[in-house]
């Protein structure tokens, strides 16, 4: 073991790596926003009185949760252009992350909605509110609060999953570090640094979620 550490290529590439961290952050945040929209929308459709609509949601969840993310992102990037849908790597990655995270979010948020007592819905209806109003104004917030820890860990996972977008050369931390590594052959130094960066990004995400939670779910419960 006569390996001499040489961080010079990493330091040289630092501006690139930091910019790539921002890229990772952007993919993660945009993916999460899309995932939340799909998650909440999916839960609403999952409760539809029309059976085919419910089946569609169930089918979507099963399809996404039982296939690899790499295949999903390849499908969007390489297969969809054949039917005329051509997207750049970054939008592709965001959509793939949003769809993947959304499928998991549907199941998580649905669990939260089911944990809210039926009495809440009844009280809202008895006060003359419509079902949709009851869901939006009464059920949603306590439901999200109930499952927020699960959602947080799912979204930290989503943040780390952004590294798979390197397979289609989206602009993010893993693909930029691969470039530096293949130019310098400093594998240890590059991936050590990248590991630290991912740790920091995950930690920042958790702080962000904790901040959000403290702000929006501040009401006391028994």
């Amino acid at each position: 073991m006569n390996y001499t550490l040489d961080f010079a290529p990493v330091i040289e590439g630092l501006p690139n790596l930091l910019a790539a961290c921002l890229g990772t952050f952007t993919l993660a945040i945009c993916g999460m926003i899309l995932a939340v929209i799909i998650g909440i929308g999916g839960v609403v459709l999952r409760q539809s009185t029309l059976a085919p609509v419910r089946w569609l949601v169930i089918g979507f969840v099963e399809l996404i949760r039982n296939t690899p993310f790499l295949v999903q992102i390849f499908f969007i990037y390489f297969a969809l252009p054949l039917i005329g849908v051509r997207l750049d790597p970054t939008p592709t990655a965001i959509i793939a992350l949003g769809i993947n995270g959304g499928a998991y979010a549907i199941e998580i948020i649905r669990g939260g909605v089911q944990s809210i007592s039926k009495g809440q819905m009844e009280a809202g209806l008895a006060l003359g509110l419509h079902k949709a109003q009851v869901f939006r104004l009464i059920i949603l917030k306590p439901a999200l609060r109930a499952i927020f820890p699960s959602l947080t860990s799912q979204f930290v996972l989503l943040t780390l999953t952004t590294s798979i977008a390197s397979a289609i050369s989206a602009y993010e931390l893993t693909s930029v570090s691969q470039r530096i590594e293949s130019d310098s052959f400093r594998s240890f130094e590059v991936y050590f640094t990248v590991t630290v960066f991912y740790l920091v990004i995950s930690w920042l995400m958790m702080r962000l979620f904790a901040f959000f939670s403290a702000r929006y779910f501040a009401y006391p419960v028994k």
Binding site: L125, L127, G128, L137, P142, F217, V221
Partner: protein, 256 residues
């Protein structure tokens, strides 16, 4: 139709149920219910557990569907269409055993939500109405607290105020004191008595027989999904006609 009109008392009926049947699958929860409640009348609905009394009042604001018969509130025929259900729910307030306050909203916000969203009142109007009714149930000093910070009795009084904020014609109470610690029952009953004295039309499912004696115009006794007997409280307690009523009264009064 003859039977329906003959079951109405003098004056205009605020609520009438005619030939209402309800099944849960093969189990019949309500059997040919014919009840008429006049404006300003106070009804206490009692009976053993599983007799269908909660189911009955939950049909009036369509929290439960029913398969046969007709329910009217004022001049609205309830039916099963969203439009008539909405109209009825705006006229009928309900108080639940478990309070069902919204935990993420303050007491004031709990009271303002429906008037703003269902009646389209402005925020200013909704707030002044809410404060006025919180004052009426003597809990205005808790307006900015969250439900979890209140005692059960306080929560139930807020729930009453919240229902009153819709200015309902009728109030339904579904065992409003059953989930309360004994020392909190009185404050809720006092609130209900005050409401009764102001002339509100009320149907109360309750086992509080003292309340029934004090405020009810009529006590309705149910068993096995059917109305067995109805009478003014004095007569109901002193001279129950049916064996099942006597048995029930023996159990419930013997216990206290």
């Amino acid at each position: 139709m003859n039977e329906i009109s003959s079951s109405k008392p003098e004056g205009q009926a605020m609520i009438s149920m005619a030939g209402v049947d309800k099944w849960y699958g093969a189990f019949q929860a309500l059997k040919d219910i014919n009840i008429s409640v006049g404006k300003g009348e106070k009804i206490v609905l009692c009976g053993p557990s599983g007799s269908g009394k909660s189911t009955l009042i939950r049909c009036i604001n369509h929290l439960e569907t029913y398969q046969k018969g007709e329910i009217r509130v004022g001049d609205i025929v309830l039916g099963h269409q969203a439009k008539s259900i909405d109209a009825v729910r705006r006229e009928v307030g309900m108080v639940f055993q478990q309070f069902n306050l919204f935990p993420h909203l303050t007491v004031l916000e709990n009271c303002m939500l429906a008037p703003m969203r269902a009646l389209r009142l402005s925020k200013v109007e909704a707030e002044s109405r809410a404060r006025q009714l919180l004052e009426r149930v003597r809990i205005s000093e808790q307006a900015d607290k969250y439900p979890a910070q209140l005692s059960g009795g306080q929560q139930q009084r807020v729930a009453i105020a919240r229902a009153l904020c819709m200015r309902p014609q009728v109030m339904l109470f579904d065992e409003p004191t059953s989930a309360l610690d004994p020392e909190m029952v009185k404050e809720v009953l006092d609130t209900m008595i005050a409401l009764a004295e102001e002339g509100m039309t009320m149907i109360c499912v309750t086992h509080e027989m003292g309340f029934a004696r004090q405020v009810a115009d009529r006590v309705i006794f149910m068993a096995s999904g059917a109305v067995v007997e109805q009478a003014p409280p004095a007569e109901f307690f002193s001279d129950p006609k049916h064996e099942r009523t006597r048995k029930f009264l023996g159990e419930i009064l013997g216990r206290h």
